[in-house]
Amino acid sequence: MSFLKKSPWVLHYAATSCNGCDIELLACLTPTYDVERFGIVNTGNPKHADIFLVTGSVNEESRKVVENLYAQMPDPKVVVAIGACALSGGIFRDAYNVYGGIDKVIPVDVYVPGCAARPESIIDGIVKALDILEERAKERKRQRKVVPA
């Protein structure tokens, strides 16, 4: 079994979101939803994170940040896009300054719909991401066995 599943540390970045989804995400960390039950900790630091939770529709400035944060996360990692904005741009998708959708910038593994995405959905999304994370960890182990370092 992979321990990644038992201790997913998340990094949250609001890439051009309206705050709605971010608040819901923060609410997940607080007593009512308390995702620390699953070992989830909001690290605030890409180098410690396993799951990248992104909200918002991404504009030019935040694109650079998102790319950088993604690059600074050590493998294995997954990306969860939260909210209509992060999925497709939502209501802002026609605005001139947004790309619309995190997947235009970095590969996204789980899409959590909603505007704002509800804490329950976010928890579900993270749980889904955990399976992918474990899959990746296993994959890496297999590869390591094939090519001894």
């Binding site: 504009n59 030019e60 400035e61 026609d94 605005a95 001139y96 300054n97």
Partner: protein, 146 residues
Amino acid sequence: MSLDEPFNDLPLDQWVSTAERHRADGARLVQMTGTARGDHFEIMISYDKDYRCANYRTRIPRDQPELPSLSGVFLAAFTYENELKDLFGISVPGLAVDYGGNFLRTKTKIPFSGDVTIKKEKPKKPSAARKEAKPANASDTSGPEV
């Protein structure tokens, strides 16, 4: 509310002196903004004293978009003027803290000057959708059982 607080036209050369007058009067700078019109920009400004707003509007030509800075009178003006600079491409000589067009950084430069337009696109034809339609993968997509 504020339908009774109309915008008064103001010649550009009284821009600063009006600000000074309001400042001496103890008013507060509420906001500054612009609108792009055909061949000119309208710049609007509002001062507030005791919940009453005095609104002004001045026009500056597109070919010479220059607005004297009010940041010497109201320091608060610097954010608005930087914003005007970034969104409308108006140059503001005498700006106290000049970000040089990097205050509100946007993908397209000076997007509010009228070059960028956002029109409603035609809805896609669903026939396109049908072509690639394939049967559902039940496990992934079935909605919640309600």
